[in-house]
């Protein structure tokens, strides 16, 4: 069991309120991702759940028990840190054994769990090495191994992949997702990378300045963002947000259209513009269009490779059923 419930939780550092009153429930077995720009309070929120920071007011419940004043060691949660936070003076085996040693688990059981974790994480050959002799990806696996053997109520991940290179990051992303499929344990994952959020999460919590902007499944956030911030944050490349006369035609203060929901033609369309930069990825082409009379640069995404170069005139037509409308407060209309 690993349901985590936050009731009116706040956090202040001196005079600064980092987390205004916040309610949130994370269901048992769910993979929840906290995502937001840096400084949005997502890591602080995770540390509050872990017990590494004291909450200022409010309550935290873990499995129905009030954990507000329970020290981190007693919350039954395991955490994986961005810097891996391995014990440099211990071998991999001792690192993984440490939480079990602290819990007083007998040695035979310790070894059984170490061996099964090492096997699952491809660490069997490295058990006698020190963390300093491992690569970044291996270190992160050791950190995950150390978390698994505790059989925690929930796993907390604090930007665990940010220190890895791009290729390794994709691999580890899959490994963590597979781990979740296998263990079915509650996981809370903090990241600023919306691709990680979209690919891994059952539920995404979008945060800005300590405020929950929207909670939902990845596709809910993609299809029906509650406000302009979420619309702009989820999706890559970013949604085009257009204000002014063009928006007013649709009865909104702002309209939004995703780059992949815009049709392109060389001869006719709703908006006329000039190609600025065309990025050819092979599978897709991103075209950045300016001089559309819509204010900002408009980005479109076309499947496949199309011929477009700097200075070409181009016509854009948004798919009307995919158009997002927002009012003057930035909230979704309809």
């Amino acid at each position: 069991m690993g349901q985590i419930k936050l009731n009116q939780v706040t956090k202040r550092f001196g005079e600064v309120e980092v987390i205004p009153p916040l309610d949130l429930t994370i269901e048992d077995g769910e993979f929840t991702v906290f995502v937001g720009p840096s400084g949005c309070g997502k890591s602080t929120l995770l540390r509050l759940i872990a017990g590494l920071e004291d909450i200022t007011t409010g309550h935290i419940e873990i499995d129905g028990n009030d954990a507000t004043n329970v020290p981190p060691a007693k919350r039954g949660l395991a955490m994986v840190f961005q810097s891996y936070a391995l014990y440099p003076h211990m071998s991999v085996r001792k690192n993984i054994a440490f939480p079990m040693k602290m819990a007083g688990i007998d040695e035979a059981e310790q070894n059984r769990r170490i061996d099964s974790a090492a096997k699952a994480l491809n660490l069997t050959d490295y058990l006698d090495r020190r963390p300093g002799q491992l690569s970044g990806g291996q270190r992160q696996r050791v950190a995950i191994g150390r978390a698994i053997v505790r059989e925690p109520a929930a796993f907390l991940f604090d930007e665990p992949l940010s220190n890895l290179d791009a290729a390794l990051r994709v691999g580890m992303r899959l490994e963590i997702s597979e781990l979740h499929e296998r263990l079915k344990t509650t996981m809370i994952y903090v990241t600023h990378d919306q691709v990680e959020a979209m690919t891994m999460a059952d539920k995404i919590v979008v945060l800005r300045a300590g405020i929950v902007e929207q909670v939902g499944s990845p596709l809910e956030l993609y299809h029906t963002p509650r406000n302009e911030f979420v619309a702009g944050f989820i999706g890559s490349p970013k949604m085009n947000l257009i204000k002014g006369a063009e928006a007013e035609k649709h009865g909104a203060a702002t309209i939004g259209i995703r780059p992949e929901h815009t049709d392109v033609s060389k001869t006719e369309g709703m908006w006329k513009g000039v190609v600025g930069v065309a990025e050819h990825l092979g599978s897709d082409t991103f075209i950045h269009v300016h001089e559309t009379g819509l204010g900002d640069l408009v980005t479109v995404r076309i499947t496949g490779d199309i011929q477009a170069k700097h200075g070409d005139t181009i016509y854009l037509t948004p798919q009307m059923d995919k158009l997002h409308k927002f009012d003057a407060q930035g909230l979704r209309i309809g």
Partner: protein, 276 residues
């Protein structure tokens, strides 16, 4: 050409370094040399550098006159005891200052250091009277306590500096892994800080070994360490430089040997974090 200049500069630098090193070491060298002279040669004018009749007589006299081993043992107990006790008190203090600092932590650190700015003689009377009241005058226990207190600011400062280099996330990981505060300090912090703790131990052992104000003023016979042993040869009934030098050499020899063998540790410890 550029290379030649560098080479020349290298030679000058090396020579200068050796010169300064010898200058600093010269008093100790002179003490050691004098300890092998006769009393007459020791005060000869002009001074004799090496061409004297080498003799071990001073050592024989000193060994005969005083119980060197007793002084040595007192020094070991007092320096070792005060250093170990200091570490035990300072590790938790430095832990809290490095990892859970408050608004006042910097002030406390500076205040602690400021106690070192007070001349020791300023508190001689109160401490002397307290020692009499507690009945610990001329005891090793008394000296262990007073030397520990004298060196505590330095021990805390040194450990604080080393602990600051240890990433807090590792200690947080230990906390998440179920370690209590004691286990966190014992199994994670201390092993990681071993090089720092070792050089702190070493430096404070040397400081306590050489401490001469309190050891001379608070001891008479029973707890007198090697500093008192040296002082007993700067005698009121005339100067015996050769014997004084022999006593001094015997007093500094153990610490000199210890320092020599651990110099690598000491240097790396003292410059730890200097480049960060």
């Amino acid at each position: 050409m550029a290379r030649a200049v560098t080479q020349q500069r290298k030679i000058i630098n090396t020579a200068a370094a050796w010169g300064i090193g010898l200058l600093i070491f010269f008093p100790i060298l002179w003490t050691i040399l004098t300890s092998f002279k006769t009393e007459a040669q020791a005060i000869a004018d002009p001074p004799i550098f090496l061409a004297f009749d080498w003799t071990l007589e001073n050592y024989a006299v000193v060994m005969e006159r005083s119980n060197y081993m007793r002084f040595l043992w007192n020094s070991v107990i007092i320096a070792g005891g005060s250093t170990l006790l200091g570490i035990l008190v300072a590790v938790p203090a430095a832990w809290s200052m490095a990892f859970v600092p408050s608004k006042r932590t910097k002030d406390i650190l500076l205040w602690m250091l400021s106690t070192k700015m007070l001349p020791a003689v300023g508190v001689l009377y109160p401490i002397y009277l307290i020692f009499i009241k507690l009945g610990i005058l001329d005891t090793r226990t008394g000296l262990v306590i007073v030397l520990m207190l004298m060196n505590l600011p330095i021990i805390v400062w040194m450990l604080y500096t080393y602990f600051r280099e240890i990433p807090g996330e590792i200690l947080e990981a230990a906390r998440m892994d179920g370690a209590t505060l004691k286990e966190e300090i014992l199994y994670v912090l201390t092993p990681m800080a071993v090089p720092g703790i070792a050089s702190t131990l070493l430096l404070n052992f040397i400081l306590a070994w050489n401490e001469a104000f309190w050891t001379l003023n608070l001891t008479a016979v029973n707890a007198a360490p090697l500093t008192a042993f040296i002082a007993s040869y700067s005698s009121p009934e005339g100067l015996f430089f050769a014997k004084l030098s022999a006593a001094s050499t015997m007093a500094i020899a153990p610490i000199l040997i210890l320092g020599w063998f651990s110099q690598k540790q000491l240097v790396s410890g003292l410059t730890f974090g200097a480049v960060k």
